[in-house]
C-alpha cells in the first residue's frame, strides 16, 4: 500500500478490517480519488464518466464473494461526494464492505457524502456492512452524510449492518428501501455518539409486494452532550410484515429523539414499532459489581455488549 499514508492505512483497518489488499474485488478511494482497484471474473467495477463514483456489476449467481469499497480521507478541509451504484445479478449471494474513515488533524471541516444505490436482482442475497469512523485531534469537524437507496426485486434479501462507534462529529444517514414480492430487509444499526456530536438516522422502508418483510433495528448509546435522532418509517402497501425498533442508552447530558412511523396502506399489512430510551439500569450495574467489576468497568461492559 505504498500510495496510502499511514493514517489512511489505519483507517482502512478500522473501517474494513483490511491490513493488506484483499483477495477479491475492491475499490479504495482516498482523498477524493481512486487509490487501488481490483476486479474479478464475477465482479466488475468501473468509474462513472459523468460524476465521481463507480458502478459495481455483480454477475448473476455469483456466490460467496466479498467486495470492498472503503473510502478514507486524511486531508483537512475536503468535501468529497461520491455516487456508487451496485447492480446485483439474480441469484447472487455476496458481501459488500463499505465504510468511510476520516482523519482530520486540521482546522477545517472534512466531509464525505456517499450516495449509494443498490439494484438487487431476483432471489439475490446481499450482506452490506458500513462502518463510519473519525479520528484526529484537529478542530475541523468530521462530517458524513450517506444516502443509501435499495431497490429489491422479488424474493431478494438484504442485510445491512450500519455502524458508527466513534469520532464522527455530524452525520445524517438516510436509507430508503423498496421491496417487491417476497423480498426481505434486515437492518442493524449500531451507533455511539459522544462530545458534542450530532447523529441523525432516517430509514424509509416501503413494503410494496406481498410476502415482503422488513426488520429495522437501531441500538445506540448517546454520551456527553451528544444528540441523536432516529426516524424509521415503514409503509405497508401489501400483505407484508414490518418491525422497527430503537433501543437507546442515554448518558450524561445527551438527548435522543426516536420517531417511529408506521403507515399501513393495506388491510393485510402487519407493522410493529418499539422504542426504548433510558439510562443504564441500576440493577445491571449492581449485578456486575457483585461479580467484582468497578462501576466504570460495569458500565463499559454493558455498553460494549449492547453495541456488540
Amino acid at each position: 500500500m505504498a500510495e496510502l499514508t499511514q493514517a489512511q492505512k489505519d483507517l482502512l483497518e478500522t473501517i474494513a478490517g483490511l491490513t493488506c489488499m484483499p483477495g477479491g474485488a475492491f475499490n479504495i478511494r482516498a482523498n477524493g480519488g481512486l487509490a487501488e482497484r481490483q476486479v474479478t471474473e464475477h465482479i466488475n467495477i468501473t468509474s462513472k464518466e459523468d460524476k465521481p463514483g463507480i458502478d459495481i456489476h455483480i454477475a448473476p449467481e455469483t456466490k460467496g464473494e466479498t467486495c470492498y469499497i472503503p473510502v478514507v480521507m486524511d486531508e483537512s478541509g475536503m468535501t468529497d461526494i461520491v455516487y456508487n451504484d451496485f447492480f446485483i445479478g439474480e441469484g447472487a449471494d455476496v458481501t459488500i464492505v463499505a465504510g468511510c474513515g476520516i482523519h482530520n488533524c486540521g482546522g477545517e471541516d472534512s466531509q464525505h457524502d456517499g450516495i449509494h444505490r443498490f439494484f438487487v436482482g431476483k432471489g439475490a442475497h446481499v450482506k452490506y456492512v458500513e462502518n463510519h469512523y473519525g479520528s484526529g485531534d484537529g478542530l475541523g469537524k468530521r462530517i458524513l452524510n450517506p444516502v443509501t437507496e435499495v431497490y429489491q426485486d422479488e424474493d431478494s434479501s438484504v442485510e445491512m449492518e450500519m455502524v458508527q462507534i466513534k469520532g464522527v462529529d455530524s452525520t445524517i444517514r438516510t436509507t430508503k428501501s423498496e421491496l417487491a414480492k417476497g423480498a426481505k430487509l434486515v437492518v442493524r444499526e449500531r451507533l455511539m455518539t459522544h462530545g458534542e456530536q450530532h447523529a441523525e438516522s432516517i430509514y424509509l422502508t416501503e413494503l410494496n409486494g406481498d410476502g415482503s418483510s422488513a426488520d429495522v433495528v437501531s441500538r445506540s448509546v448517546a454520551r456527553d452532550n451528544s444528540y441523536q435522532k432516529y426516524t424509521s418509517r415503514i409503509v405497508g402497501k401489501a400483505e407484508c410484515s414490518g418491525h422497527t425498533e430503537c433501543d437507546a442508552i442515554l448518558m450524561d447530558n445527551a438527548r435522543v429523539l426516536a420517531v417511529p412511523e408506521l403507515d399501513a396502506a393495506c388491510l393485510d399489512a402487519q407493522l410493529v414499532h418499539e422504542a426504548a430510551i433510558g439510562k443504564i439500569a441500576g440493577d445491571q450495574l449492581i449485578k456486575l459489581m457483585t461479580l467484582g467489576l468497578t462501576p466504570e468497568e460495569a458500565e463499559e461492559q454493558i455498553i460494549n455488549g449492547f453495541l456488540a
Binding site: R219, L288, T290, G292, L293, G305, L307, A308
Partner: protein, 249 residues
C-alpha cells in the same frame, strides 16, 4: 467469618416519617456452614442480605468479614474480598452472553467446556445456553439458574442467595432444590439463603428467623418448627412452605 453487629436500617417514607426496616440485628456466621434466613414477608430478610453485599448501607452498626470492618466498603470491594450475591430478580442484559457473564464471574477467560460446567451444574443443557444473550428471551427459571451459575463460578468464601425460589416454575424449583442439596454436600465456603421453602430449610445447618426487622430465633429446623409455623400464620407464608399440620421431618 461474617459478623453483623447491631445493624439498623431506616428508610424515610414519602410523608417524612422514618420507618425502621432492620432493628438492631447482630449475627455471626461461621465458616463452611449452610444458613437459611426465613420469616414473614416484609420482615427485613432481603434488606439484610443486601446490606451484607453492600447494596444497601446500614443506618448504623458494623459488618466484619474475617475480622475486617467492611461496613464502608463498596459492592465491588466486598465482591473482591469474597462475597457473592444472587439477586432475587435476576437482571437481563441486551447483548451480554451467558458465557460473558460466567467469564466475568470467574474473573477468567474460560473456554467453552469449562464455562459449560457451571451451567450443567445448575441443570441447564450448557451448549444450548452458553452463546445466548442474557435477555428477555430467557425464562425466569432459566435466568435464576444462570444467576446461581455465576455465584458458583465465583466460588467465594461467602455466597448469599436472595429468595432463589421466587418467580420460578415448579419444574425449575425441583432442580433448584437439587442444586442446593448438591452445594450442601460439596460445601465450600459459607452459604446464606433467604428462603421460605421447607426443602431448603431442611438442609440448613442453622435457621435464622427474622420478623419485624429483628432476629426472633436461631437454631436447627426441628427446634424452630413452632416459630416457623407461627410466623407463617402471621405472615401468610404457610401455603408457600407447604407445611402440613404438626410439621414434617
Amino acid at each position: 467469618m461474617l459478623e453483623l453487629k447491631n445493624i439498623v436500617f431506616d428508610v424515610t417514607e414519602e410523608d417524612g416519617s422514618v420507618k425502621r426496616i432492620i432493628d438492631g440485628v447482630s449475627l455471626r456466621l461461621d465458616e463452611n456452614k449452610f444458613y437459611v434466613v426465613t420469616g414473614p414477608n416484609g420482615g427485613g430478610k432481603s434488606t439484610l442480605a443486601r446490606i451484607i453485599m453492600g447494596i444497601e448501607k446500614p443506618t448504623s452498626g458494623q459488618i466484619l468479614l474475617d475480622g475486617v470492618d467492611i461496613t464502608d466498603k463498596s459492592i465491588t470491594e466486598r465482591a473482591k474480598m469474597g462475597i457473592s450475591f444472587a439477586l432475587q430478580q435476576p437482571v437481563r442484559f441486551k447483548g451480554i452472553k451467558v458465557h460473558d457473564l460466567i467469564n466475568i464471574a470467574s474473573g477468567k477467560d474460560l473456554g467453552t467446556v469449562e464455562a459449560c460446567e457451571y451451567l450443567s451444574a445448575v441443570g441447564l443443557c450448557a451448549r444450548d445456553y452458553i452463546d445466548r444473550e442474557v435477555n428477555a428471551s430467557l425464562s425466569g427459571g432459566e435466568l435464576k439458574r444462570i444467576e446461581i451459575a455465576t455465584v458458583l463460578a465465583r466460588g467465594t468464601k461467602l455466597s448469599v442467595f436472595d429468595e432463589p425460589e421466587a418467580g420460578i416454575d415448579l419444574w425449575s424449583f425441583q432442580n433448584l432444590i437439587h442444586i442446593f442439596e448438591t452445594m450442601r454436600e460439596e460445601i465450600k465456603g459459607t452459604i446464606l439463603i433467604i428462603s421460605h421453602q421447607e426443602r431448603i430449610l431442611n438442609i440448613a445447618d442453622e435457621i435464622i428467623m427474622i420478623a419485624d426487622g429483628k432476629i426472633t430465633k436461631t437454631g436447627k429446623k426441628e427446634d424452630m418448627m413452632i416459630d416457623i409455623i407461627g410466623a407463617s400464620l402471621e405472615g401468610g407464608i404457610c401455603s408457600r412452605m407447604n407445611i402440613p399440620e404438626g410439621g414434617r421431618n
